[in-house]
Symmetry: C2
Subunit: 333 residues, 2 copies
């Protein structure tokens, strides 16, 4: 989802506060995406990294480290690590989803080919682990290798669960934790770990990242059905057309009459869609109020994120992190 449209932009205030360190992160990313022997690697990487994106994940790592009083150099390495893992994941995702667009530009798999996206993703993933070893912290490596395994597991689970009507809210949550929240929570947790913060504070940072990531993904899935297409860069109903079971549909399926269930089986499980199906799907979501209920869930996770960091010491950055939790769900109100 785009964060650029609302009036209040706490992530921009955080970016301004962390400008010098974000510059260092960007310089490190530029340096480490180079390849002496294979120019295809920086070409593909630059296409994606250069397309912008808000660098929210690396910023969370910098913010968490600063919030915990860290004054060493390695939060910059960790922030670049997190962005490399994120970029590798996007490259592989676009191959898996056969996507043609990302951040308003043609995807790498379309501009080059699937081969390049797979292999450059592998390269960036390896680079991310090289960066982590430079910090000398085994804890950091443990946290981020766990997160990487959870991400891949969530994506595999999504392969089979997305079009299976037995997918319920708890499986959805597992997928969301994998595909989105695992990297958010690892990003904030390693910031605390590198600062050698109190274990309770590290836990609070983890909980914040986890809840923020879930709120973020639920909001994204909701906006797919009711977003302003000019703001999100997506078309309303893309997930429906791609037969992806997300929360608004899962909630409608759970309450479906026999006839409605037959509709979901045909359109999602069997993928036999025709004109008017998206409108009917939206009617069914309206009937059961599932868009409202999904919005409430997203707001609930944002509240959990804020509650988690409320246990940390008062700090300018803590306030901005709290505002970011409000912001990712702000357009849903």
């Amino acid at each position: 989802m785009s964060l650029d449209t609302a009036a209040s932009k706490p992530h921009e205030a955080l970016a301004a506060l962390l400008r010098d360190e974000m510059d260092a992160v960007n310089a490190l990313i530029q340096e480490r995406m180079a390849s002496e022997h294979a120019p295809r690697i920086p070409e593909v990487t630059a296409h994606l990294v250069g397309a912008g994106g808000k660098r929210l994940r690396p910023m969370l790592t910098l913010a968490a480290a600063r919030l915990c009083g860290y004054d060493g150099p390695y939060h910059v390495h960790l922030a670049a690590t997190v962005e490399f893992i994120h970029t590798a994941t996007l490259l592989h995702d676009d191959v898996v989803d056969e996507s043609a667009q990302r951040r308003g530009r043609p995807t790498a798999n379309l501009l080059w080919d699937n081969k390049s996206s797979v292999l450059v993703g592998d390269y960036l993933f390896s680079r991310s682990f090289q960066l982590m070893t430079e910090t000398g912290s085994i804890d950091v490596l443990r946290i981020l290798s766990n997160a990487s395994a959870t991400i891949a597991e969530g994506e595999v689970l999504q392969l089979t669960a997305a079009t299976d009507l037995r997918t319920d809210e708890s499986i959805y949550l597992q997928v969301v934790r994998g595909k989105t929240a695992a990297l958010f929570s690892a990003a904030t947790e390693v910031g605390g770990v590198i600062a050698d913060a109190d274990p309770a504070h590290v836990q609070a940072l983890f909980d914040y990242g986890d809840a923020l990531g879930i709120a973020f993904q639920i909001a994204d899935d909701l906006l797919d059905y009711q977003g302003d297409t000019s703001a999100t860069g997506k078309n309303v109903g893309d997930d429906f057309r791609e037969r992806k079971l997300t929360l608004p549909v899962i909630k409608a399926v759970a309450q479906a009459t026999e006839e409605e269930r037959a509709f979901w089986v045909r359109t999602i499980e069997k993928g036999r869609q025709k004109d008017g199906d998206l409108e009917h799907a939206l009617d069914l979501m309206g009937k059961y109020g599932t868009l409202d209920a999904t919005r409430q869930d997203a707001l609930g996770w944002a509240e959990k994120a804020k509650a988690a960091i409320a246990t940390l010491p008062e700090h300018e950055i803590r306030g901005l992190l709290s505002d970011i939790a409000d912001y990712v769900v702000a357009r849903l109100n």
Copy 2:
């Protein structure tokens, strides 16, 4: 290439000597390829891991550790790590090469789909780093993340270099170091590192793995043009049909007349092949003796491998490693 056909089988003698530890490695692989949430993961992994293969790479790690007097438990983790990285690489390679067969069975990308191969590869790669963190050794993580980056870089380089007639022997060697030798040399090096061996011995183990991996790949590329198809499970000339520039062709291109060069441009660079082209290509390799010259190169690398470990203390395992170097090129004589 298959190692199962010649009379003398030093890798089997090594496997017998390391049987208990290899059993522990296999048990750890079984345990860690599981996934609570996504059964697709162990299905795909078991298909590839269960298809056999000689587990040469993990065996090299165990052998190196034992040769250096290691008596702790972590060489088992490292051996499983090496096998996971190898398996992840094979899954992604088969997607990149659009392969239909591997180890005499249909590939995972054919049985399931490219998506599963990409994501399960990512999962195994993450799992490998989790295993490494359990050893507590940052050195090991540094070595294997460097190797992973080199592997991916070599594969990307191959994407562009394979059909480009400007690819010379030094670029070929770079590709081979990436796609094959990097994991061999890391496998032996980490065995020495976990045993806290003398740096000169660690270097010798690295040099052995590097030269062995290069000999192994050159032999593989040579057998593509002159192998016994029943032994290799490949058809003669697969690389030619797939337009892959390997050493026998590179040597022929380097000496080509203008007319011969036009032939290579048409068949390799442009990929416009017709009946009789493979035979003509073999004639040209015969004219310049490039198969013999390639064989000499492979033998030379096997000698380098043996010379490297000759500096290590006398040990039964050292003898078997030396025999393995002879063995990977034995069928070329």
